[in-house]
């Protein structure tokens, strides 16, 4: 997969799809606020690894921002003002419009992907081969 991204054949996109309520929505907004300061993936990774969900609270998110060297005042203002709420709700609406109902769900070029990781990898490989064949012909 990394090879395909490296070679410019594939692109990976993450979309928030909130199914666990306000804590999930808060985490998504905090991640977007971190993204304002270039730390989107740091927050994404931290949230996925946060088994105790400590960072799903305001105080926890601020600690996370501090740990990642972000401008804490700017970050706090962003989460308090819910600056990215509309962005996340728009993602949610779009996901529902294309038939997403659970997480995690993958789509490849807009088409439903396999449920298993190995199946997804196979699909991506097949798509990459198709692209290469098209370019070759």
């Amino acid at each position: 997969m990394e090879e395909l991204i490296h070679s410019g054949i594939a692109r990976y996109e993450y979309r928030h799809f909130i199914i666990f309520g306000s804590a999930s929505q808060f985490a998504a907004m905090a991640t977007e606020c971190a993204g304002d300061q270039g730390a989107w993936w740091e927050f994404h990774d931290a949230y996925l690894l946060d088994a105790q969900a400590r960072s799903f609270t305001r105080a926890g998110a601020i600690d996370l921002a501090r740990d990642n060297g972000l401008d804490v005042a700017r970050f706090t203002q962003c989460i308090d003002n819910e600056e990215h709420r509309d962005r996340i709700l728009e993602m949610q609406r779009h996901a529902r419009s294309v038939g997403i109902s659970g997480t995690p769900t993958f789509r490849i070029n807009g088409q439903p992907a396999a449920r298993s990781l190995s199946g997804i990898i196979e699909q991506v490989r097949a798509a990459a081969e198709a692209v290469e064949n098209q370019e070759g012909s």
Binding site: E2, R11, G38, I100
Partner: protein, 172 residues
Amino acid sequence: MTIRMATLPGMLPATLVVALLAALGLILAACSSGGDVPEAVQESAVAATQSDQQQEDQPATSYRAGQSETAEGEAAEQSSPAEAEQAGESADEAGQTDAPEQEQATEAEPQASEQSEEAETEDATSSEAEAEPEAMVGQIIETGHRAGLFANRNVVGSPDAPIVITEYSDFL
């Protein structure tokens, strides 16, 4: 003492035979005495070794200092708490390892430093427009993290990529 020998056809001249015998004798003597070397030769050899060591030590020290700063800087810029924790665990594990392994790690440092220097040189020679995505993807592969335009927010990869993998997910 003068040795006179008649030089018959097919025989070596007497002086050459004497010289060869003398050389053979010297070789045998050196072998039997355990390879004793004159003091003057020993001193010059020691001086040369010390000089070599000094030359080797100096760049190696500056290498490590430079690398250490770079590594810390990168860690400060890139690492997430989870990674920092993993790094801490790795450091703890490293603390428990035996000394020979630590030496191996130390030896590996200059190599890594040389590689990074090579990479920097390559980056410098190629245009920024080409080098930037390459470096970013390299960073993604090496660290699992994405930064900059090439991995803007929730997207990793070229905007022109023909295959788009979309994940819809919730952090909880």
